[in-house]
């Protein structure tokens, strides 16, 4: 150690962004006490090699500097662990961080106004938290291409020594980021749901709670006496996980489910076919009924002196479900609702997802939609945290469509930044220990999250679920499902226009 002391002091002085970790953690000390060579080999095998793997994505002109631990790590081999300084190099490389947050987002994939709005808001948030966004945030545009992500990740690690990573807003990026962050032992907040087989103390998953959203619906359905639900869902929907949760919980709650009935949302015949199936319009057992109806319409045509039009003959719907769960956005929901009316279905409880939430859902909407219920991960737009501004549209529950995505993204990223900021503020800790601070991070005060910590013990985030009912030209909040409280609490204060 004495041999390396002058070098370490020098490195501390010249290292960009004050790279050095503050203290040896208890884990490091115990590792040393294990016996240097063995510990070194283990660390090298588990993590060091991953760094070397990642380094392959560095630019060709990358110039490794001998005084930087992570760079020296690149030349390290397992056999080097016989050298007394190898373990220290390794440990220092892992501890090393610049206290900066690497934000890996597909910025260029977003429309310019959206991108600008999000970046401006996050910078302002960091500033409001007492930080310096220029020094603290490393904005990386992943452009939605996973191949590019690894190269960017390599640069964040080896060149910027990011303390914490935030990203994975798409499934592809989430997978890559999660895999690398775990192996590199770099804490990462994945802005997505936990993927199968991904579990690590370094990985945190932040975003709407799909399971809670689904359970809000199933419990509501049960409370309304609904016993059987048919699920309608567009092909290639990204809401499969929500449906999976719904089905799982429905099974658990002994709520009957039929479907999902898949349709092509761009093809009316496909939608029509599914509805005819659900409503048993063309069932062969209804042949007699069909003939009777044909006779009726023929007589009517004769009476009115008009030619018989077979298109007018449609059997009335036979409904054997208590509700329909429509996993689609408001526009298709309205088209579906109109088609229900076409088949004479005027009253049938409908259940929906956050994509229902648009002013256009209730603006001159169909009667059948009134009384329908959908869930969302945002309650009132008036009560958004992180100084997220929203322009109310008609009521506190709607905003202009060009703000919807920005609000969703700002909320999500702000929440991650807020957690990251807590993890990095104050006394600096070594990178492998940052996760502990993330685990303890608290949400901002206020009604929105109303939970003690941002993350649960399983590193998934707490996120409330809001249940809305569709009224005459409006929506009303029925319930807020808090992930911690066992019972839902009804928000009686917020009523829409």
């Amino acid at each position: 150690m004495k041999r390396w002391l002058p070098f370490l002091l020098l490195l501390r002085l010249i290292a960009p962004g004050n790279l050095c970790a503050q203290n040896n953690t208890a884990e490091e000390q115990s590792a040393v006490s294990l016996g240097g060579a063995e510990r070194c080999r283990q660390l090298f095998r588990d993590t060091g090699k991953t760094y070397q793997e990642l380094a392959r994505f560095l630019p060709l002109n990358f110039n490794a500097l001998p005084h930087i631990a992570t760079h020296r790590l690149l030349r390290l081999k397992s056999e080097d662990c016989r050298r007394p300084d190898a373990l220290a190099t390794l440990e220092k490389a892992l501890r090393l961080h610049s206290n900066k947050i690497g934000l890996l987002l597909p910025l260029s994939q977003w429309p310019v106004p959206l991108r600008t709005s999000v970046v401006t808001h996050i910078n302002a948030l960091v500033q409001s938290l007492g930080g310096d966004p220029v020094r603290q945030l490393l904005w990386i545009d992943t452009a939605g291409t996973p191949g590019r992500l690894e190269s960017q990740l390599a640069q964040l690690v080896f060149m910027h020594h990011a303390a914490l990573l935030i990203g994975g807003i798409t499934q592809g990026e989430a997978q890559i980021l999660g895999r690398w962050a775990d192996r590199l032992q770099i804490p990462a907040i994945i802005l997505n749901r936990r993927l199968a087989k991904q579990s690590s103390k370094q990985l945190f998953y932040l975003g709407p709670d799909q399971r809670l959203l689904a359970s809000s619906l199933t419990r509501h359905a049960l409370s309304r006496g609904i016993r059987k639900v048919a699920i309608l869902m567009p092909q290639s929907s990204r809401d499969g996980p929500l449906v999976d949760h719904f089905m799982a919980q429905a099974k658990h709650l002994r709520l009957g489910v039929s479907g999902p009935y898949l349709y092509n949302p761009h093809d009316f015949e496909s939608i029509n076919g599914v509805l005819r199936k659900i409503f048993h319009i063309d069932e062969s057992s209804r042949g007699e009924e069909q003939l009777e109806l044909v006779r009726h319409f023929k007589e009517k045509a004769q009476l009115e002196g008009v030619p018989f039009d077979s298109r007018q003959v449609v059997l009335p719907a036979q409904i054997d479900v208590d509700a329909l769960f429509i996993v689609d956005h408001f526009k298709n929901v309205r088209h579906l609702a109109k088609t229900f009316a076409y088949y004479g279905v005027k009253r049938l409880p409908l259940l929906g997802i956050p994509k229902w939430r648009a002013f256009e859902l209730v603006d001159a909407s169909e009667d059948i939609l009134k009384g329908s219920v959908f869930v969302d991960y945002i309650g009132s737009y008036k009560k958004l945290p992180y100084q997220i501004e929203a322009t109310p549209l008609g009521s506190e529950y709607f905003v202009p469509s060009n703000e919807v995505d920005a609000i969703d993204l700002k909320l999500l990223i702000s929440h991650a930044i807020y957690a990251a900021h807590q993890a990095l503020e104050g006394k600096r800790v070594a990178r492998p220990e940052i996760y502990r601070r993330l685990e303890a991070s608290r949400p901002p005060p206020g009604d929105f999250f109303a939970v003690p910590t941002i993350f649960r013990r399983d590193h998934l985030s707490y996120w409330p679920s809001h249940l809305f009912t569709v009224g005459e030209g409006s929506i009303q909040m029925l319930q807020v499902w808090n992930p911690i409280l066992s019972d839902s609490r009804q928000d009686k204060s917020s009523r829409d226009r």
């Binding site: 807003i169 975003g207 799909q210 949302p265 029509n272 007018q312 256009e360 202009p400």
Partner: protein
């Protein structure tokens, strides 16, 4: 005060009888001859006296018999009051129909009359008539003894009564007062009445009556009418050889009817010409020239059928309704709203459109379709006052007299939609309101969209100009069928509408006139108009029997001008972006709407400029279906365009004036938000959209919504 002709005649007879009795007294009551003369002389005198006595008795008894007989036949009672039918003669006259500029366009008559004052009758014709009928007309006093002798001589020579000795005066008397039977009684009456008539009327007047009142074949009365009926031209255009024939007709119009017996007519013409030579009315050389001229007979086509036959029919019906009396031969003068020049142009358009009708016929869903199956009807009217300027009741009046413009009830299809939209706009809907195009059920009616379009979103404006059915039905359902029907009545639809959902899409049959009223009322900025065809009716003396100006129309404010303008603007958009967009350049000055009923059985285009409203229908009388490629835009619209191209030459138009309280702004045609790249839509001030975005738009642009999280 007229003299008492009857008493005068009686006194004259009395004087004559007195004179006769005086003579007989002086002859027979003087002293007998034997009292102072010889016996022979006495015997002779006795014989003479006996003879005279017998003769006297015979004459007396004959006289008594004649007197009694004449008394029985009524000759003794003839007085000049019987002549009043001639003296007070009013020539019969057709009822005439005029267009808005005073051009004669039709006439109603039972017998064809065309009165010509004496000074308008060609002198050559007068000469011809006199030469052949009454050479000494201007010399005798009603009876021409020379004529009688000549006739007698000719008759004796020929052994039959081939030549009458009647003067023109006698013929007038006979035709007006007596029966045509050839009896002595009638002859005596005729002679006596003729003598009296000559004392009451001038020769010219008698001749005028004669030339105008007598039947001359082919339903014509008078020389003017005969000229048109036999030669197809006005009398002032006839030449000697033709006039001679007309003159020859007086003797026997049936026998010499040139249409039925041209050879006899020619012979008669020759006789007349010869008579004219004999009367020195023409020279031998004129005769030779005239005799060689061929006679071309041509019945003048009925004026009624010439320009606007269906309109003329409608005028007759309307006049009879207005005056509650028959109009034929009543000498009425009916002044109409028709613009003859425009009507002629429109007739030409229809006649030139035969290739179009041939193409249309090919779209019929029958084997070997005949172009003649395709029928059409059109109306053009002035929306300011409802005056009908032109009317097409069918393609060929000779083929079918049925007036499709007024009588046919056909389904207007989407051309009915303006009523639904007008009602909705009045109820507070805006053109920027978004409707989702989806199948719809109303009552048990399931209307279809022609293109099968579903899963789209449209503003009402877009739905209107593209004529998407389901949004209109949805709107109609929202405002209520009852209110729509009420609005239809306010806007001028007189035909009873069916209280059925199908009415919202024009399933209830209406007349072309209904549709014209509807569109004209909108074009008149919401002030409903009553279409009309007649402006004034007078009798032949000019006494006004009906005046449209004195019977003002009920001018109901069916729509506020702003709402009417919203409709006009949307109908301009039909040209600019919609079903009439092949004629987009018309959007600057025209507005309109297509209408296609089920299977394109009826194809309408109803439209307007700032001056005129015009409605065109094309279809078949037997309601035949067309194939799916057919529709109002291909069948009726091209015809409407051609008609209005002509109409605009007569009635130039500008763009529609924008009333106060209207604002226009660019709006997204599908999602209804303010969009600089959108299309200009009109709004009532204060109702314009305020949003600059729409979630619908987001979904259309990206295909997803709220999809950034958990992707």
């Amino acid at each position: 005060m007229k003299p008492k002709q009857g008493n005068k005649f009686k006194s004259l007879l009395h004087v004559r009888m007195n004179k006769l009795s005086g003579y007989l007294k002086s002859r027979f009551l003087r002293a007998p001859p034997w009292q102072g003369n010889s016996y022979r002389r006495t015997r002779k005198s006795r014989l003479w006296l006996t003879f005279l006595g017998i003769l006297g008795l015979s004459l007396l008894s004959t006289g008594i018999w004649l007197f009694l007989w004449l008394r029985q036949t009524g000759v003794t009672h003839l007085d000049s009051s019987r002549l009043s039918a001639i003296i007070d003669y009013q020539h019969a006259d057709n009822t005439l129909v005029f267009d808005r500029k005073g051009e004669k366009i039709g006439e109603f008559y039972s017998d064809y009359h065309l009165f010509l004052p004496f000074d308008k009758i060609p002198p050559l014709l007068v000469k011809a008539v006199l030469a052949v009928e009454d050479r000494h007309f201007f010399e005798h006093r009603g009876i021409d003894f020379r004529g009688i002798l000549r006739a007698l001589f000719v008759s004796l020579r020929s052994g039959s009564f081939t030549q009458g000795g009647s003067t023109i005066t006698q013929q007038v008397v006979r035709n007006f007062l007596l029966t045509p039977e050839k009896t002595l009684e009638r002859k005596i009456k005729e002679a006596l009445l003729s003598l009296q008539l000559e004392r009451h009327l001038s020769k010219e007047r008698i001749l005028e009556i004669y030339l105008n009142a007598l039947f001359l074949g082919q339903g014509s009365y008078g020389v003017g009418a005969a000229a048109e009926r036999h030669f197809g031209k006005p009398i002032d255009q006839l030449e000697l050889h033709e006039l001679a024939l007309i003159a020859g007709l007086f003797q026997s119009p049936s026998r010499y009817n040139p249409h039925r017996a041209p050879e006899q007519a020619k012979r008669r013409q020759t006789q007349v010409l010869k008579a004219m030579v004999a009367a020195r009315a023409i020279s031998q050389s004129d005769y030779r020239k005239a005799i060689k001229r061929p006679l071309v007979y041509q019945s003048q086509g009925s004026l009624n059928a010439a320009f606007a036959p269906h309109f003329i029919d409608a005028i007759q019906e309307a006049t009879e309704k207005l005056l509650t009396s028959e109009v034929k031969g009543k000498g009425l003068r009916i002044y109409t709203t028709l613009d003859l020049a425009l009507q002629k142009d429109i007739n030409q358009v229809i006649s030139d459109a035969t290739p179009h009708f041939q193409q249309v016929a090919q779209k019929l869903l029958i084997k070997n379709p005949d172009e003649k199956l395709i029928e059409t009807a059109a109306l053009i009217l002035d929306q300011k006052n409802g005056e009908i300027l032109a009317m097409i009741g069918g393609r060929d009046f000779a083929r079918s007299q049925f007036n499709r413009a007024l009588k046919a009830k056909r389904a207007p299809g989407s051309a009915f939609k303006p009523i639904v939209y007008a009602q909705a706009l009045q109820n507070g809907s805006k053109w920027s309101d978004v409707s989702l195009v989806a199948p719809i059920l109303i009552q048990d009616y399931r209307p279809q969209n022609s293109s099968g379009e579903y899963l789209s979103e449209v503003t009402l404006y877009n739905a209107f100009y593209r004529s998407v059915n389901t949004p209109a039905v949805e709107l109609g359902q929202k405002v209520g069928l009852k209110n729509v029907i009420e609005m239809a009545k306010k806007l001028g639809i007189r035909t009873e509408l069916k209280n059925q959902a199908g009415t919202l899409l024009g399933g209830s049959e209406l007349t072309l006139l209904d549709m014209a009223s509807l569109y004209a009322s909108i074009a008149n900025y919401g002030e409903a108009i009553e279409p009309r065809m007649i402006t004034q009716i007078t009798d032949r003396q000019g006494k006004v029997l009906y005046d449209a100006a004195e019977t003002p129309q009920k001018r109901e404010k069916a729509l506020p001008p702003q709402i009417a303008y919203l409709m006009i603007d949307a109908m301009q958009a039909v040209f600019r972006y919609g079903t009439a967009s092949p004629y987009a350049e018309w959007a600057g000055f025209a507005a309109g709407k297509t209408g296609t009923s089920n299977e394109a059985r009826d194809n309408w285009f109803c439209g307007m400029t700032s001056r005129l409203t015009s409605v065109v229908w094309v279809g078949t009388d037997s309601n035949l279906s067309f194939n799916s490629a057919a529709g109002a835009h291909t069948i009726a619209l091209p015809l409407w365009i051609r008609i209005m191209q002509k109409a605009r030459q007569h009635y130039p138009s500008e763009n529609f004036p924008v009333p106060e309280g209207i604002v226009k702004m660019p709006v997204h045609p599908h999602f209804g938000y303010r969009d600089e790249a959108g299309i200009a839509m009109p709004f009532i001030e204060g109702q314009e959209p305020i949003r600059y975005e729409s979630a619908f738009s987001n979904v259309r642009d990206t295909g997803v919504y709220r999809d950034y999280l958990d992707r």
